[in-house]
Subunit: 469 residues, 3 copies
Amino acid sequence: MAKLELHPDRLFPADDKIRGIARELYSTVKHLPIISPHGHTDPSWFATNANFTNPTDLLLVPDHYILRMLYSQGIRLEQLGIAPTGEENKIDPREAWRLLAGNYHLFRGTPSRIWLDWVFAEIFGLDARLSADTADLYYNRISEAIATDAFRPRALFDRFGIEVIATTEGPLDNLEHHRTIRQADWNGRVITAYRPDAVVDPEFEGFSDNLAKFSDLTGEDCSSWRGYLAAHRKRRAFFAEMGATSSDHGHPTAVTADLRASEAENLFERVAAGSCSANDAELFRAQMLTEMAKMSLDDGLVMQIHPGSFRNHNRPLFRRFGRDKGADIPMRAEYVHALRPLLSRFGNEPNLSIIVFTLDESTYARELAPLAGHYPALKLGPAWWFHDSPEGMRRYRRMTTETAGFYNTVGFNDDTRAFMSIPARHDLARRIDCGFLAELVAEHRLEHYEAADLARMLSYDFAKKAYRL
Amino acid sequence: MAKLELHPDRLFPADDKIRGIARELYSTVKHLPIISPHGHTDPSWFATNANFTNPTDLLLVPDHYILRMLYSQGIRLEQLGIAPTGEENKIDPREAWRLLAGNYHLFRGTPSRIWLDWVFAEIFGLDARLSADTADLYYNRISEAIATDAFRPRALFDRFGIEVIATTEGPLDNLEHHRTIRQADWNGRVITAYRPDAVVDPEFEGFSDNLAKFSDLTGEDCSSWRGYLAAHRKRRAFFAEMGATSSDHGHPTAVTADLRASEAENLFERVAAGSCSANDAELFRAQMLTEMAKMSLDDGLVMQIHPGSFRNHNRPLFRRFGRDKGADIPMRAEYVHALRPLLSRFGNEPNLSIIVFTLDESTYARELAPLAGHYPALKLGPAWWFHDSPEGMRRYRRMTTETAGFYNTVGFNDDTRAFMSIPARHDLARRIDCGFLAELVAEHRLEHYEAADLARMLSYDFAKKAYRL
Amino acid sequence: MAKLELHPDRLFPADDKIRGIARELYSTVKHLPIISPHGHTDPSWFATNANFTNPTDLLLVPDHYILRMLYSQGIRLEQLGIAPTGEENKIDPREAWRLLAGNYHLFRGTPSRIWLDWVFAEIFGLDARLSADTADLYYNRISEAIATDAFRPRALFDRFGIEVIATTEGPLDNLEHHRTIRQADWNGRVITAYRPDAVVDPEFEGFSDNLAKFSDLTGEDCSSWRGYLAAHRKRRAFFAEMGATSSDHGHPTAVTADLRASEAENLFERVAAGSCSANDAELFRAQMLTEMAKMSLDDGLVMQIHPGSFRNHNRPLFRRFGRDKGADIPMRAEYVHALRPLLSRFGNEPNLSIIVFTLDESTYARELAPLAGHYPALKLGPAWWFHDSPEGMRRYRRMTTETAGFYNTVGFNDDTRAFMSIPARHDLARRIDCGFLAELVAEHRLEHYEAADLARMLSYDFAKKAYRL
């Protein structure tokens, strides 16, 4: 049985000079509280504070990174405890767990492996590596632990040192869990974020019904442009009451538009009538980014744009299992022309904050750093999704810093529903950032005191400030 | 005269910690047999086992990397012993060799230099650097050597430790050399691969004639869709008999299609009539990738897709000298939309194996690693062509591993017609991979025993498995 | 107050083995004269040799890198001493300087910081870091210095060790400053370069007027294609008399065309009539690149192509302040198809020299290195603009060298109007190149004597040769 040990110097560059500096920098940020301004944890966890059920449902089933890797090697989703839509799972979670354990070597060299090992070692105190041999040992140990009070969501939240965490909800959500949390006898700060894709994207499943619900919920007539916009304003205000400091927009592209009022109204009429073309749908999403920016100027919500994922790329898999099964694939992205309408309208507003993300790293140095290094309203989100990884973060820093500087970036966010891995992800990001800063110091591109300053800002201050937390 | 010495630590990262680990890993894979599953050596070499003629024809004339670099600095192809089509070479091969020698400094920093130095030192025992001063020394030494039995193709094949090598032939090839090799009193395993571009690409020179020959050769009526497909099946079966375990497809783009049977038939009719448009040609190539995948499901051939080269970019040069003179230039590539029809149809088949290559590194992290890290049928080919180089391989590993893992890659292939350089190329790949693994170990992202495991797989097992050898 | 010290090992890789080699290589090129073949200094400085006015006008106002960074963080251009078009600057330059000083932390990790620190320490002998606390100290010290004779432009030129510097002028410029310089009792070599965008780009502000002036200036009828071309030839000849050895072309894209004479003439008629479409404008610029190449074959001017910048991206800012305020943003670029018409026509001419630049690094390894590594007429310009930085240069070398070699590149050029920073920029480039070469030596990919050779060529010889200086 191979030993599982987290080396104190892990993820620091190998060079002794650099590593020494990185170690020092890291020691000053290691214990800073976690700011998690963008993610997908389930607020019901913190509202009900119920125990998690079993290791498979906790760690395997909700983690798309794990599903996709196992699936890529010929393991069927059914074997992992994922039932096709409308069917029942017939798999013993222990069996699914054994599949993960027996194939854990597949994750060598991936961030999943780093995050999971951290969870195993730090949260569950395991000291042998996960493998076919240790599958049951793991299953038993984790099962026992999560049945205890110390492993309930709120206790873990506190233990993880989370200062604030944001979840993501749609405008049709009543935010009852958030209300419960706010009224609970617990100090954990769990806030929501306004993600209106379901009522903004005409191609979203059930868009027409969603508009109808949007009317019901807000008392506005969402079949009219004026009413529709008013409904957004109302829900944004409600979300802000429930702690939201940001909105989030997951569009296929970063395209924005700045139509005249009458054009926008006509477009909305076609959209609301359910008869709009693909071009209209794209234009409407584009226009809505500008509308949202306008509302942000009034209500102060920070705007996040997350474009560039081809959702549900695997057609047969989507038909059988539905969304979010690890089959979203990044596409080539373009920002320079796409963002121009929005930026020409609002990009010079110093009180507006738009945070842009990308899945296309070729835009870091070419488009995003130059844009964020010029427009007052624009900031650069951290390395995202597939790039939320040691090499991905290093490329991000190397390709953005020289043009955007550090101060036009917004720190780290974990963007995950894998609650257990949140501290692991922040720890990884802090280590990689300290390593990058250490390299700059070792090459005399930065003084040590400046690196120390920046280490703290990248780990804590920037996120807090950028998201107005 | 400068000394030529191959340093035992060459190509390992400089850091002592990493280098030590790399050296150790490499020592365990250095002598593993060579699996060469994709390349362009000439099967007649191994069939006839004749001596190579002279250093220039052996090392300079067939190597596009060398031709292009010398040409880029104003040396005419005629000076290098390449005659325009229809004309005779009037250059003394020794004179051409002297030109290479006198300009050998141009190759500083290129992989050609690394490969050639290996050939000079390891195969021919030369210990002074190639230069104007040593041109004749080299020419004489190499000439003498290749006149001996020990330097005949089969002897070199054995000396190089090649376990299996694949050549590439078109469906119209009768594979007589492969037949000869199989019947020879020699154990070397030389297999073919099915590369049907000449009868699949309507824009290929002589496409109509090729279809006619395809009919003659197979006894099928290749002017009908049904007959045309049957002809492919027959030739694939014959290629498989001659050892083929893969097909190979060198299309301008990665576009695939999944037409209904009647549409495909109509399209083929236009294509066979010789009257198809550029769009039709692209669509036909696209459809044929899906047809080939379907045949692969039946006959088990592994499918390779090599898209993205703008062939014969230099018009005047092409007119005078024809194909393959170093004027093929990579183009921007797209895979996410392009492969979707094929992947939606067959991407979930665990028994199908499609290996995709790219000349556009911006697709590594953005498109190919996410696709290969999800679809069971898809694997990622190694760094290809211009990227078959130390920095190219490092970028490949850094940009693909975190999302696709190592296990969705297929090891190394040399893709060359420069027979002498094959061991040099595998040696380079093994060194770079060991260096990369060593870095992961030094940063505690991987355990040493895991890296040792992977070093072997990247050097040997993965290629054998992926190509079903 | 933090100390300002330039560490002798700055910008060398941290590894001791590599650093030792880099240090040695650098010591041999550190004092080589500066060849500055492409830049935007103002020839009037050297013609009048007047003292610079104040620190703000010298170092802040003309530096777009500084403006854009401060602007991105909410500082208005007015506060920096930039008045809207037609208005007067009301800001005390000392106040603007204090703003820079108080926000100097924003430049951490950027090349601006490296260049500025060099200027502060080496030119002005400052030994405390710029900050709010030292703002006035800096302002006073610099003010005093630049009032002295030793800090007049010609004295600095000589002190900087500049062997030759090229400025950039349009065809309508009478080059009086260059004439003055040539007649002056001073040996500094200041030459011009022919940048005809204003009379080549139909979308340039005032294009029609420019054509009229072009006629007046040359005595040719620039409303006819023949006269227009003759006018170019005349001005090129005049520029060459004033020292020019190159032309420079700043087009939105790299598209070239090779129209038949009659087509070109018809196109010009539409263009000259002021009625051309956006497509016509693009086609005309494209055709003119080929026409310029043709003229270069006759008059020997080296041709530079600088494509890919979206000029004046920020519409409101452009309206208020005009061009060149840090709002130019790179766009995705394409060269393989774009350059083909030109290269098919003239790419095989060994006496033609076309130097191509890019703002899209994804084209380095994919397109530009393969093209420059093949076509005799094509060379690769250095890392440009936002990529003129330590990481940018490293990526450039890593992504171009293996395919294009070193010998198809042209050394460094500073491309700046920030005169003070010129030695800093060349020093940075030399350090980074020596670091890269040292890495190759440390990995035994290059011999030490070869690296020493190349260090000199990259620092001095290549630029001199490529630009025919």
